[in-house]
Symmetry: C2
Subunit: 426 residues, 2 copies
């Protein structure tokens, strides 16, 4: 209820800032960390000491470039622990193991029957992906300090569920209950939109920005919203359902059961719909999902495809302008496989439509582009969320009690099977 | 750039919390303040001491209800200073003087020629309203510690300007420059949407809530957005321009020059448009603005009016669902004179349309109603913003240096002409 953050919340936030800064910058001195994070030198020293104790920060040499005595250069100790990020989508589950430097050390994809035959089959697929990823990363379950699971959002699943698979909302809850005790670490969940928001804060265009929006374009579409450097979850954890805001009153039927949603125009089925309006017999209409999108990308010179992309870009620009008008963010990025495949083709015309509709300064000063975080954006976001949770005081304290001794002790045989990182397969 | 708040920002936020809690609760002990704000007892004691020194907190007796020794009950000292809130709208300017308990002690309205003949004439009207409000409140210019000016937002003016009065954005800047040196205190500006957001945090349904949206319904429409207890301003200070998000692709012409905006359906001209579709010869179409809205309110039994209200409620519910889908707030309130006049008539059907479109839990758990802050919502919001600014460390420090001595000294003749509060006229 109250709005004032407690001192332990502030300390938790500061600890996250330091880890994030070190992960992103690679190495830094305490002075550089104070500069990057805006924290006082004393706070940085305190938190660095605590994080060294916990095994997440190690020395990376000394910096003698200045005039005074050499200062210690710090780095994240990747061996400090491992985290699992899981991206559960409608057709596949992808599990990725990261070390504490958020470097990917093992990944696995397992396909899911699109019909969602049973919660058990999805839970089995998920746990199989986890086992495979651990094996490929050379990590034991006991090495995992936290697990982040990106679950399809309430609306993009629950409502879509009323079309394809009724009762999906209940499934998600049951799925969570089913897998939680069998996962190798404390579980944190979020929807994929919030997950890509976390990725973008750590590694993307939202880094160091106060406000940003990450727009996910795939079969479904939605937005990860970042305000004051934090991902907005919403009162019932469903903020960002921009895909089901209205673009055209009483317009096209959307797979959620409503009419005129943004998703029905710029989601993959929406783009197919547009091509079918332009040319009902077009050969690309035989293809599905990713193949369809890649087909468009490879045929931009084809007039019906060009017309489809022009209309899609206009729909997209107008729909983006609604987010810009309401939130007026500093930066906006597009992510998801439609964005990665078609971003370059869509952005010029989308920018024009957006500039025509959005309040003028908002569009003129908006930094808009395709996200630099690709491939694993959901899994990465969930892993860093699990990492952030682990960094909270209570979790760190629990860990300190359970560790055999501080990291500075003479190393005995490593308690973790520290196999060398392996090439990623997925 | 950095996201971590400095200790002085945290102290400023805590000081605001204490003042806000005391203003709203009337009286409180230090223990109660710690409970309400979530601050530690030590922090509360420190800040209370500082605020007593600055003249904003006074004793209101002792509370001996507990088992221990009697504790001091605190209250805001209304005589600690005065603040001016100014609501500059397209057709009038309203200035309101508040004491430090945020009690209205004088107000004045001055009409503005709707043609905006010149910046000078608007500046003159504004300063005349200020002089009148001061006189009615029995305050001298030197009593005013801060002035908050609500200026029409960038888009709802700049673009509307392209229809009625070109160059309006430049006018706002020039107006601000013109009046700033002639106002009786440091000036802070915001747009009216952000102003109603501040009102709602202090006195309305957003009190103590983490996230809220205040939807303003008048000639123009827009939303004040509250996230983590703070009003969202946006990268270029125009967050909340929901009125110009799209409701119907290529739909009705909006006065901003675009097509299909929410405002073209639920702003006053939009509601007139709907009535003219239902009954092109309806007598109420002769009326303008407020008279038109009050005419609708008084004729809800008239079938064309009932049909107009039904359609307007549906448009409103769908447009509100877009905000709910994206932001998923805890609470949403309607404000502005359309809401105050027609809220009861519109809300039942609007709720149904909203529930049909919004992600289900978001709508089911949303607290939606007409704002309890009425009449002076913009002026009140701007006055509390000026108060909050004044409470920041730097401003308080400047004041401490300029004050003759601490408040606890034996009182000499009051330096302010402390006339008794007068009945409000305006
Ligand atoms: Zn939909
Ligand atoms: Zn408009």
């Amino acid at each position: 209820m109250t709005r004032t953050r407690s001192s332990s919340e502030i300390r938790d936030a500061s600890r996250r800032e330091i880890v994030r800064a070190l992960v992103v910058q690679g190495t830094a001195t305490r002075t550089e960390l104070a500069h990057t994070t805006g924290l006082s030198a004393a706070t940085v020293s305190n938190l660095v000491a605590e994080l060294r104790e916990a095994g997440f920060i190690a020395d990376a040499g000394t910096d003698s470039a200045g005039t005074g005595r050499p200062t210690t250069v710090l780095r994240i100790d990747g061996e400090g622990g491992s985290f699992l990020g899981i991206d559960l989508a409608e057709t596949y589950v992808r599990a990725v193991v990261f070390d504490a430097a958020v470097t990917e050390i093992g990944a696995a994809n397992v396909e899911i029957d699109e019909e969602w035959v049973s919660v058990d089959s999805v839970a089995d697929a998920l746990l199989r992906a986890v086992d495979l990823a651990l094996e490929r990363g050379g990590r034991a379950p006991s090495d995992i300090l936290g697990v982040g699971l990106g679950l399809p959002g309430l609306l993009s699943t629950d409502r879509a569920g009323t079309v394809a698979t009724p009762g999906w909302a209940a499934h998600v809850g049951r799925l969570e209950d089913r897998v939680r005790p069998r996962l190798p670490g404390p579980l944190v969940t979020a929807n994929p939109l919030q997950a890509v928001g976390h990725s973008e804060i750590w590694f993307g265009a939202a880094r160091g920005r106060s406000s940003a929006v990450v727009v996910n374009l795939g079969t479904g579409v939605g937005a990860g919203i970042i305000v004051e450097g934090r991902v907005l979850r919403g009162a019932t954890h469903t903020a960002g359902e921009w895909g089901h805001t209205v673009l055209e009153l009483d317009g096209r039927a959307c797979r959620c059961g409503r009419r005129g949603c943004v998703e029905a125009y710029v989601g993959v089925p929406g783009i197919r719909h547009t091509l079918s309006e332009v040319d009902p017999d077009h050969a690309l209409l035989q293809l599905h999902q990713r193949e369809f999108i890649e087909g468009l990308r490879d045929a931009v010179g084809d007039p019906p495809v060009a017309e489809t992309l022009a209309r899609t870009a206009r729909y997209l620009g107008i729909a983006l302008s609604d987010i810009v008008a309401v939130l007026n963010p500093e930066v906006m990025t597009l992510t998801g496989w439609t964005a990665w495949a078609l971003g370059d083709a869509l952005l010029p015309a989308a920018r024009i439509a957006l500039a025509e509709r959005a309040p003028e300064l908002t569009a003129a000063r908006l930094d808009l582009g395709v996200s630099p975080v690709q491939v694993n954006s959901v899994a990465t976001g969930m892993a860093v969320l699990a990492f952030e949770n682990h960094l909270d005081s209570s979790a760190l304290a629990r860990r300190a009690r359970s560790r055999p001794g501080p990291r500075v002790d003479p190393p005995g045989p490593s308690p973790t099977p520290s196999s060398a990182p392996q090439p990623v397969a997925g």
